[in-house]
């Protein structure tokens, strides 16, 4: 039902994506990468055996990314 090696691989992918989000200079790229992060955590929750939590995370990850993209319209897209 849950395999530990698959979880370890997905967690390492999450850590790599976090490094991209922290060190990127373009805010729109960081927000789209956050959408990919949310997608991979949904897979992680399915592997852990929690399909309710995965369903909720899938829907709310999309809505959260939409909020970030809309509020990026008011804000400068570059980042120092």
């Amino acid at each position: 039902m849950h395999s530990l090696i698959l979880e370890a691989v997905l967690l390492m992918a999450l850590i790599a994506i976090t490094l991209v989000v922290i060190f990127d200079k373009d805010l729109l790229a960081a927000v789209v990468t956050y959408c990919a992060f949310s997608f991979i955590t949904m897979f992680l929750y399915i592997v852990m055996g929690a399909p309710d939590v995965a369903f909720t995370e899938a829907v709310i990850g999309v809505i959260s990314t939409i909020y970030f993209v809309i509020s990026l319209r008011n804000i400068d897209r570059r980042c120092k």
């Binding site: 309710d52 909720t56 809505i63 939409i66 809309i70 319209r73 008011n74």
Partner: protein, 261 residues
């Protein structure tokens, strides 16, 4: 040199915290152990008696809506308060001088603003096909929350997403339902009120607050539990949907899209 030292301080602190965290992992149980302390108290009772007490084969729904229904009522209140906070923060008119507007260079080349830039699928037609399917799926998830996976949160978020698709994809058209942010936050309050109304009805029937077996309807015991769960989940759905619409409208009103007129 001082700047390098100042940049290195977070890394040093993080390294110390990591080392301290890794050193003492002996007290954590190994994953998958069925005798871990997380499993030995009440969760065995919940798994074995859930169908007898609450008539719902989904144990997660039975836990959050029946055994621990008070927590979910306060969670719905928190969602309503978050929507209220956003409305209060963004209630003023924005100062037109304070917005940073960047003129787009390619705006002058497009003759009809709002027309698609490429010859592709007509977005309006595709939305009108997709939206009813999502709504039907949301109602299915709401009503079958206690038999299979689902529940109130997922259904509310799906209906909120239908509203987002309706207003965001083609900005020129006027959508059928206009909900400014004040009205939708009132709708979120109505969702919390429906939840609390179920609790008050059980008090009227003579039981403890939110004990579904004592609702004043004339049904059998299992049907009363199913009806109580359904009413409560409708309240949660309305609360979550209205909060999502509120936050979207509040942020969306202040954004000016430079490539539309």
């Amino acid at each position: 040199m001082a700047k390098k030292i100042k940049n290195a301080i977070p890394v040093v602190i993080i390294a110390i915290v990591l080392a301290a965290a890794f050193a003492r992992f002996d007290f954590l149980p190994s994953i998958g152990d069925p005798d871990a302390p997380a499993h030995t108290r009440t969760s065995d009772y919940y798994i074995e008696h859930a169908v007898k007490d609450t008539n719902s084969p989904n144990y997660v729904t039975a836990v959050i809506v029946d055994y621990r229904a008070f927590d979910t009522m306060l969670e719905t209140t928190v969602m309503f308060l978050a929507g209220l906070g956003v409305v209060i923060l963004l209630a003023s008119r924005p100062d037109p001088k304070a917005r940073i507007i960047k003129p787009r260079k390619f705006t002058e080349n497009r003759e009809h603003l709002g027309a698609p830039a490429y010859q592709s699928i007509n977005k309006d037609v595709m939305i009108k096909i997709i939206e009813p399917l999502i709504l039907i799926y949301a109602v299915y998830v709401l009503f079958h929350g206690e038999v299979s996976l689902g529940g109130g949160f997922q259904a509310g978020a799906l209906i909120g997403m239908v509203y987002i698709i309706d207003t965001m994809v083609s900005p020129g058209t006027i959508s059928l339902i206009r909900l400014p942010k004040e009205r939708s936050v009132a709708l979120a309050g109505a969702g919390t009120f429906i939840y609390t109304l179920t609790g008050i009805l059980t008090l009227v029937g003579g039981g403890v607050f939110l004990e579904y077996g004592k609702l004043p309807f004339s049904m059998s015991f299992e049907e009363k539990h199913s009806t109580g769960i359904l009413m409560v989940e409708v309240g949660v759905t309305i609360g979550v949907m209205a909060t999502i619409i509120t936050i979207l409208n509040a942020i969306h009103e202040r954004a000016r899209f430079d490539d539309d007129k």
